[in-house]
């Protein structure tokens, strides 16, 4: 999979940092996400992935840096662009006592979705949860919840979709089905997707760009194939382990106190 050149970046981040007192959750990162591509933020727990996503969404105020999303300065005008993006995460939930349909109606109205009932029926068909529409959200299984959360994330047909661990807690079959759905959505709408994931096969299948994060920094980046070749490994999981455990090429780079991406550039 190679990264096609894109005329515009859906996301452009410069010098982005988040400090909590002396702790740097994100320590000054730069990246762009080409429009119409799928990019993954990869890294272990505490690497700064969720913090980065939260800053991109405007949920968290950065300590420094700039963020442009779909051409808009998120730190100044995020409300101008929020209607064109959406988000799903295991860290948030939908109100349990409302039915699936009621929840989707509320979000459809928040995003000013035209013909909301039609859109809800369409999503229910596409994501295969029509039978759950009148069921309270609190009575759904983990897999069903993920489908409904994805429906909420797609309710406004976003140009940019930010997903935090989109297939966490799903069985392999459902997870595979979700990946297929995301791939189709991107192709049909030329949408941009940025996802944080721990699932390496998911990233290899879906993503044109991978940003490897560790301790709040981007320590490497490239297509999955480029990274695998660069580290001399068989798959992305082994690359991830090299970086996480500071072994192989990642250790050599660390000895020279230089990110692999700079060393190999």
């Amino acid at each position: 999979m190679s990264l096609e050149p894109h005329p515009a970046a859906a996301i452009a981040v410069t010098g982005l940092a988040k400090h909590y007192d002396a702790v740097a959750a994100v320590a000054g990162i730069d990246f762009t996400v080409p429009a119409g591509s799928v990019t993954a933020l990869l890294g272990g727990n505490g690497a700064g992935k969720t913090t980065t996503l939260a800053m991109l969404l405007g949920l968290l105020k950065p300590s420094a840096g700039s963020i442009r999303v779909l051409g808009t300065d998120m730190l100044r005008d995020r409300h101008r662009v929020l209607a064109r993006m959406n988000f799903s995460s295991p860290y948030v939930d939908l109100p349990h006592r409302l039915t699936v349909r009621q929840n989707l109606r509320v979000f459809a109205q928040l995003y000013a979705v035209p013909e909301m009932e039609k859109r809800i029926e369409q999503l229910a068909r596409e994501l295969d949860f029509a039978a759950l529409l009148e069921r309270p959200a609190g009575q759904l299984s983990a897999g069903q919840k993920t489908r409904v959360a994805l429906a909420k994330a797609l309710i406004n047909t976003p140009e940019l979709l930010l997903l935090d661990e989109p297939t966490a807690s799903l069985d392999p079959d459902t997870a595979d089905w979700v990946r297929g759905l995301l791939e189709r959505y991107r192709q049909e709408r030329n949408a941009t997707i940025l996802l944080a994931s721990h699932n390496m096969s998911e990233v290899e299948r879906l993503c044109q760009q991978v940003l490897m994060m560790k301790q709040g920094r981007i320590v490497d980046r490239g297509t999955p194939a480029e990274l695998i070749a660069r580290y001399g490994r068989r798959n992305l999981e082994e690359v991830f382990l090299d970086i996480a455990r500071n072994q192989g090429k990642a250790a050599q780079a660390a000895e020279q106190q230089q990110p692999v991406e700079e060393k190999t550039a």
Partner: protein
């Protein structure tokens, strides 16, 4: 795009009211709770009034003074609590993250919980006023238009405190939840609900007069006992309400921004 008026979308506010209306209308326990406590209070104070009416000329002269006091106080308490509970429902369901990545602005979110505070109060208090009429033959509506002024003034004060409490909980998390339930009771002794401000010690009276409810309850007694509508008291209450509403809104926005700085909007919940 939804229509906006001065940067505020009525459609998004309506979406949030819809969300809470679904919750309220689908849960008879929530509706029952709204009516239960005001009913208990009204019945207790109704019997107390009947008892005292035969003993003191003050109560005999204005039978409804205690009952009106308790019902108006309850409306103030319910507005403040209704605002805070509507906000807490979002915290309990871990929904804040979903809401604040949508186009919903903090001002619209605040407007929706204020509206819900009012709706919850009307659902709870109107049946109780009718029950007071039926049980004790006292209609709070006999105060006429002045009642609308009193209710509006208390609603504004309940909103001010309620929205500040929402900001506080957003910033300090569910550990600060008890403030939602207890903050209004701190003001009860100073609000002159059942007795005039003049009963308070001299050093407490200026504090009481810095609170809109004291003006409202003094005004209420004036209507019920002297049959005079004191517009000066109503004006004082509204002037103070304007100040408190500004302070409450500013506190909410400041704590909202503090929560954004500290990353508290994502993942807060039970």
């Amino acid at each position: 795009m939804s229509t906006e008026i001065l940067g505020v979308s009525p459609g998004r506010i309506a979406a949030m009211v819809r969300r809470h209306w679904y919750l309220l209308s689908g849960s008879w326990t929530r509706v029952a709770e709204l009516i239960y406590w005001p009913t208990v209070q009204m019945i207790m104070w109704g019997f107390m009034t009947q008892f005292l009416a035969g003993k003191t000329s003050y109560v005999a002269q204005a039978f409804g003074v205690l009952l009106s006091g308790v019902m108006l106080w309850d409306s103030l308490f319910r507005v403040q609590l209704g605002v805070a509970i509507s906000f807490l429902e979002e915290m309990w369901s871990r929904n804040l993250g979903n809401l604040f990545v949508s186009p919903l602005r903090p001002t619209e979110f605040a407007a929706s919980v204020l509206l819900m505070g009012l709706i919850r109060t009307l659902v709870g208090v109107i049946p109780v006023t009718l029950m007071a009429w039926w049980f004790f033959g006292f209609s709070i509506y006999s105060m006429g238009l002045a009642l609308a002024g009193f209710f509006l003034s208390l609603t504004l004060f309940g909103w001010s405190l309620g929205i500040a409490v929402c900001g506080l909980i957003m910033r300090y998390g569910l550990g600060a939840e008890s403030v939602a339930w207890g903050s209004m009771f701190l003001l009860l002794p100073l609000s002159a609900v059942y007795y005039p401000v003049s009963v308070l010690p001299g050093w407490l009276q200026p504090i009481a007069w810095s609170l809109p409810p004291a003006y409202v309850f003094e005004g209420m007694r004036s209507v019920l006992i002297q049959h005079v509508v004191r517009y000066d008291l109503l004006a004082g209450a509204f002037a103070l309400n304007a100040v408190y509403l500004m302070i409450g809104s500013a506190a909410f926005m400041a704590w909202f921004e503090a929560a954004r700085r500290r990353g508290l909007l994502l993942g807060q919940g039970e």
